[in-house]
């Protein structure tokens, strides 16, 4: 059993939890992910590690409510236990001294980009992070990112905080005015990652994306997460999750993310109905 030692609600839909998993914490590297199950009947969901504390044996996960499992997870309390928690999975980020680099995070991708940003800075890079969301309320982990990077730029689509506009606009400006930028990492919704890659392409700057495919085991056994990279089939769980963004078949990747859409919606609706019927007083929408 894996105890939730700390839980925080970061905004309306995003939560943060610290989970007791000493074995995972002892060996995790930036860029890797874990798979958890809430209960024996639960599904296995992959989440990129947002932070870790080796000494205390803790892993931090940050997730957005997007369906039944994340909804149910958000309702667990401190000291509750998760049924299963495996990791560290996937290949670690290639951390080297590149020089000047940029990390771009959107939505819960801000959490995923955090340990990568920190490690890049620790390796002696000058790291500019750009994080963005629709509005001020949706910006998460600003303090952590400020600490982890050399410079932090925040954007909101509606201008309610930081720069008005998309992360990619800021990225384009930076690429335009500074030819010394060696590499870009971007984690967020597929469309954001794709647009980031489109933005960097004319500048020929290596752009790494971290893919969040549907998975079952997460160890290379099932192939649920397969994706076409430069015309070749790769497994996100064991070959990734990070790939050269310019080589990703985004259409196929996005299609495969919708494989269970209808079923997942039904299951979430059932869950909300039960919640409502039981009149436990908890949130139903």
């Amino acid at each position: 059993m894996y105890k939730i030692t700390k839980k925080e609600q970061l905004n309306d839909v995003i939560y943060s939890m610290w989970i007791e998993a000493p074995e995972v914490a002892s060996s995790v590297q930036p860029g890797q992910f874990i798979i958890l199950m809430i209960s024996e009947k639960g599904e296995r969901i992959p989440l990129t590690v947002a932070d870790f504390n080796r000494k205390k044996g803790l892993i931090r996960i940050v997730f957005q409510i997007v369906g039944k499992t994340s909804d149910e997870l958000s309702k667990l309390k401190e000291n509750d236990n998760l049924f299963s928690f495996i990791g560290p999975l996937g290949m670690a980020t290639e951390i080297e001294k590149y020089g000047k680099v940029i990390t771009v995070g959107g939505g819960t991708g801000i959490a995923c980009i955090h340990p990568i940003t920190r490690a890049l800075k620790e390796a002696g890079n000058e790291v500019i992070s750009i994080i963005g969301a629709r509005n001020k309320n949706l910006i998460i982990m600003e303090e952590e990112l400020k600490k982890a990077s050399s410079q932090l730029i925040v954007t909101t689509d509606d201008g309610s905080y930081g720069r008005k506009g998309f992360v990619t606009q800021v990225l384009k400006e930076l690429l335009e005015e500074d030819s010394e930028i060696k590499k870009v990492w971007t984690i967020g919704p597929p469309i954001m990652m794709k647009v980031t890659c489109d933005t960097t392409k004319p500048y020929h700057v290596d752009t790494i994306v971290s893919l969040n495919s549907i998975m079952v085991d997460g160890t290379g056994m099932c192939g649920s997460c397969r994706v076409t990279i430069g015309g070749e089939t790769k497994f996100v769980c064991s070959d990734g999750p990070e790939f050269d963004g310019q080589l990703v078949d985004w259409e196929e990747f996005s299609n495969r993310l919708t494989r269970y859409k209808g079923l997942e919606e039904n299951s979430w609706n059932e869950f909300k109905k039960v919640e409502h019927d039981c009149k436990c007083g908890r949130r139903t929408e």
Binding site: S27, M37, S84, G87, T258, L263
Partner: protein, 475 residues
């Protein structure tokens, strides 16, 4: 006690058939297909055994079960004794009694095989194990002196479980590492409930735990700790992580939404119980017309699972002919009874999809058989201009598995062959690094449960020998 009957009478009797759920009913549920022998049936069948002095059946059993002895105890109605006799060498009798291809093993060597009616050894084994479980009869926990030596076993499939049980019985301190959240490996993620109920796997695993085996689930060796690191903590290691990586055909369209590897399809259904969605949270999507590619046991399991999950038509697409089908005859027979449609001499060349990535059909080519190839089977040759399209909306690739590299790349000095499987001696499981042994599918490629059991036994014996000589991986 039932009587011993005269040899003449024994020869006269026919094999007792085992009753089964009728095909029309069972294709709509996940309950076990064969229903097992009754007490009377088991005794009647057991009485047929000739009790050969030089029993050839034993030589056909990788688990080394003293077959005539346990059958004799069935005749004597000493079912507990029969159970313990089997348990002496096979820690998973209710499992092997169900999934072993007995027709190619013990029963093939039965003297009565020549008359086409070998003793139904598998059915008797299953009866004995089920009887013990239902009557709360357990194996004896041996009081062997503790050896004070630690053995780490990676993977809790049939090879790992068998090796763990044998070594624990010999007084070794055994730790079993499993990457998934449940124990059993292919027994829980691969083989469907209707062939091997998961409650039975759980029961036999619990019995092994009682021998004092330490269990660590959710532990991916190679990710948390390397094999090299574990080699510093254990006196010997047995690598039995299975050949878990799925193979694809590498034809266009294979990454469309509704194309599954058999591993994914079966793992969702079996391990994650997607057939009970949304009571269980893991979804599975089955089309109206499912095509399973391949004709091994895994293909039969996949096609039959698709049918049970609601497919109106479930096809097997195989590039060779009926004669070359690698699945057990019994499985093919069950599949046909349930209405699985076989397309022989058919090679898929392209999967067709719509703009959203949904499968709408599969382009295939007709094949003919040529000369035998390296595998001894006739090589399938495409017939020119024979392309045709079948209308389907999902595909399951069941064309085999390959080695998962996560473990191997963390094991210095343990050689793998060109397919990524560990190189291991077939008599002892010794790898190229002293003190590290390997067995099961990660050595053989995709093989059977019983061959993995056999490997687990051989490795346990070799590990015992290695440690008895005072050797150890630990410096």
């Amino acid at each position: 006690m039932a009587e011993m009957i005269s040899p003449k009478e024994r020869m006269k009797r026919e094999q007792v058939p085992m009753s089964e759920q009728c095909p029309g009913e069972r294709k709509c549920n996940f309950k076990e297909v064969p229903l097992g022998y009754s007490r009377e049936q088991a005794i009647y069948e057991a009485q047929r055994c000739l009790q050969c002095k030089n029993a050839k059946c034993i030589t056909g059993c990788p688990a080394e079960i003293n077959i005539p002895e346990f059958i004799k105890k069935v005749v004597e109605e000493d079912f507990a004794g029969a159970y313990r006799e089997i348990l002496n060498t096979d820690a998973l009798p209710a499992i092997t009694g169900r999934v072993c291809p007995q027709e190619e093993q013990c029963q093939k060597y039965c003297v009565l095989e020549k008359q086409g009616k070998p003793i139904a050894i598998g059915r008797l084994e299953r009866f004995v194990a089920d009887w013990a479980r239902e009557n709360n009869v357990h194996g004896e926990i041996s009081k062997t002196e503790k050896k004070g030596k630690k053995v780490g076993i990676i993977g809790s499939g049939p090879a790992g479980l068998t090796c763990a049980a044998d070594l624990a019985k010999h007084g070794y301190d055994v730790t079993l590492f499993e990457a998934l959240h449940l124990l059993g490996g292919v027994l829980v993620y691969g083989i469907p409930e209707f062939r091997l109920p998961k409650s039975i796997v759980k029961y036999e695993v619990e019995e092994i735990k009682k021998l004092g085996v330490k269990i660590i689930t959710d532990y991916v060796v190679g990710a948390i700790k390397s094999v090299d690191k574990l080699a510093e903590e254990f006196d010997a290691l047995f690598l039995a992580n299975g050949a878990g990586a799925p193979r694809f055909m590498n034809i266009p369209g294979e990454n469309y939404n509704d194309v599954y590897s058999a591993n994914e399809f079966l793992t969702r259904s079996n391990l994650m119980k997607a057939y009970s969605f949304p009571v269980y949270d893991t979804p599975i999507k089955v089309g109206k017309k499912a095509a399973t590619i391949g004709a091994g046991n895994v293909a039969m399991d996949s096609a039959r699972t698709a049918l049970r999950l609601g497919a109106e038509k479930s096809y097997i697409v195989y590039r060779r002919s009926r004669k070359e089908v690698p699945a057990r005859t019994e499985e093919v027979h069950h599949a046909e009874e349930e209405g699985i449609i076989f397309n022989f001499l058919t090679l898929p060349i392209r999967i067709l999809g719509d703009k959203n990535g949904n499968v709408v059909g599969m382009e295939c080519q007709r094949m003919k058989l040529g000369e035998p190839d390296d595998s001894g089977r006739c090589r399938p040759i495409p017939i020119e201009n024979s392309e045709f399209t079948i209308e389907i909306d999902m595909v399951i690739d069941a064309i085999g598995t390959s080695a998962n590299p996560i473990l191997a790349r963390s094991a210095t000095g343990v050689d793998v062959n060109r397919w990524g499987y560990f190189v291991a001696d077939d008599k002892s499981g010794s790898t190229t690094r002293e003190g590290i042994f390997a067995g099961g599918d990660i050595v053989r490629g995709s093989a059977t449960v019983i061959s993995a059991v056999g490997d687990g036994k051989l490795a346990a014996r070799a590990i015992d020998k290695y440690l008895s000589l005072g050797k150890s991986l630990r410096k």
